[in-house]
């Protein structure tokens, strides 16, 4: 079967043009003169975005090196988070994820500060798929995940914060706190939570269950079936070993 697509014929009219500028490193480390520690933080954030069969192993190794430095790491990471520009959403998220992974009980305070911080108004008003509020909410629900892990580790302050933020004004944050406390809290915490939800007429939040992906309805896939002779197979996922 011949492709109906045109070849890459040069354009007569011009499409859009783009000029890309490379930003400097996003972290300033203004409050940390410990260059080795700073390098460990950068390495851990870098390894978050790894790919390949050894990606997780490399990431864990970077985290392990950082963990050896003790809870004082938190102050540096939290200071960097505060220093980043508001619209560096992914970079801000990566630092919150780092705090979550380090799993220090001392992280309750910075995590609480991140969740409690006011969410700035939506900057992209005429869009259905872009939202600065959504980016801010993901940063905060990730911080909630940090509290949930600490609560599971038996840190009482983390449970207290989950209960507090179960009344957050943003639905996703409330939902994450409710689920986290129901999974990791004591019976007393759960009693307090149920009372809170009853007062707020939000008992429906208890009905939203965390489930395995295999148990939810799956879609029926394609509308078309491509004849086998047209389908070309993807090359193997790691060609680096054979690269010249």
């Amino acid at each position: 079967m011949l492709s109906s697509k045109s070849s890459d014929t040069p354009f007569l009219g011009s499409p859009d043009t783009l000029e890309v500028r490379q930003a400097e490193h996003p972290f300033s480390f203004r409050n940390s003169k410990d260059e080795k520690l700073n390098a460990l933080i950068v390495e851990a954030v870098n390894r978050m975005g790894g790919v390949g069969d050894d990606a997780e192993e490399n990431y864990r190794r970077a985290l392990s090196s950082l963990t050896k430095r003790g809870p004082s790491v938190l102050d540096v990471v939290a200071a960097e988070y505060e220093d980043l520009p508001e619209d560096s959403y992914l970079d801000r998220w990566s630092l919150v994820q780092l705090i979550v992974e380090l799993r220090y009980p001392e992280a309750v305070k910075p995590l609480n500060r991140i969740i409690a911080a006011r969410i700035p108004g939506e900057k992209i008003k005429r869009s259905h798929d872009m939202s600065t509020v959504a980016e801010e909410v993901m940063i905060r629900t990730t911080a909630v995940e940090g509290l949930v892990r600490l609560s599971a580790d038996g840190v009482p302050d983390a449970r207290e914060m989950l209960l507090k933020h179960a009344a957050h004004r943003t639905f996703s944050i409330r939902r994450a706190c409710v689920q986290g406390l129901m999974q990791t809290g004591t019976n007393d915490d759960k009693r307090k939570l149920r009372r809170l939800l009853k007062e707020r007429k939000e008992e429906g939040l208890l009905k939203i269950k965390q489930v395995d992906v295999r148990s939810v309805p799956q879609p029926i896939g394609g509308r078309f079936v491509v004849p086998p002779q047209v389908k070309s197979e993807a090359p193997p996922p790691d060609l680096r070993a054979t690269k010249e």
Binding site: S3, K5, D8, T9, F11, S14, P15, D16, T17, L18, E19, V20, R21, Q22, A23, P26, V42, M48, G49, G50, V51, E56, Y59, L90, W93, S94, Q97, E101, I124, K125, H128, D129, M130, S131, A134, M138, T142, E145, F171, S172, R175, I208, K209, Q210, V211, V213, V216, Q218, P219, G221, G222, R223, V226, S232, E233, A234, P235, P237, D238, L239
Partner: protein, 224 residues
């Protein structure tokens, strides 16, 4: 014609540094170019968009290829793209079969991507620079679902981060629309995504939950 500039954010947490090191291979470039709608659209990926510099992950084309890599290889058994397998497996097939032309534009800052008639999908600056790598795969699946015949059919629910009462939501999970496809892809990526890290999988989980909580007129009643 529009001209735009963009300052590239840090490429670490997005996954671009590492995915970028992998996709710089002619076999991948050829496969992605010929499979996911780039072919025939060179003009839209030239003039700063990376056609002549397709390993440079500061530029859009390499960042799009990174998304294509995640789309293609995130299932451990990626060669099985049967529709009876999870969407993590057949997402790449669905994109392949529904996007005929993938073109880049500056955009007006109000959309990540748009689905046009006849298999054409336009991707804008936000696709390359505000989405992480698995998020770009999610977007391609989302837009493919529109090409597959499912427009959004409802308004966002009260309190939605996407804007209460605005159009652009799906009515329910069972509608099997673009939001469901994207969320489900992220969910599987979180659950069993291969060749990635637990951090990027957690990012997929947070984004998937955000979609589930905010993009359906009726909440599905479950979360990741």
């Amino acid at each position: 014609m529009a001209s735009c500039t963009y300052t590239v954010p840090d490429k670490a947490a997005s996954g671009d540094n590492f995915y970028g090191a992998v996709i710089c291979n002619q076999a991948y470039v050829d496969y992605f170019w010929n499979t996911y709608g780039f072919s025939g659209n060179k003009a839209y990926w030239d003039d700063g968009w990376g056609w002549d510099d397709c390993c440079n992950t500061s530029k859009p084309l390499a960042r799009a290829f990174n998304g294509c890599y995640a789309l293609t290889y995130s299932a451990s058994d990626y060669l099985n793209d049967s529709y009876s397998a999870p969407i993590l497996n057949w997402g790449r097939r669905y994109v392949r079969e529904n996007i005929d032309d993938l073109r880049s534009f500056c955009g007006d800052g109000t959309a990540i991507a748009r689905s046009k008639s006849g298999g054409l999908v336009e991707v804008y600056l936000g696709f390359f620079y505000s989405k992480d790598v698995p998020g770009r795969a999610e977007t391609l699946i989302h837009e493919s679902r529109h090409q597959g015949g499912k427009p959004h059919d409802a308004n966002f629910p009260s309190g939605s981060v996407f804007g209460s009462g605005k159009s652009g939501a799906d009515s329910s999970w069972d509608y099997e629309g673009a939001w469901m496809y994207g969320a489900l892809y992220l969910w599987w990526y979180y659950a069993v995504g291969a060749r990635t890290t637990s951090a990027l999988r957690e990012r997929a989980r947070q984004r998937g939950n955000l979609v589930i909580d905010n993009a359906f007129a009726t909440h599905p009643g479950f979360s990741i």
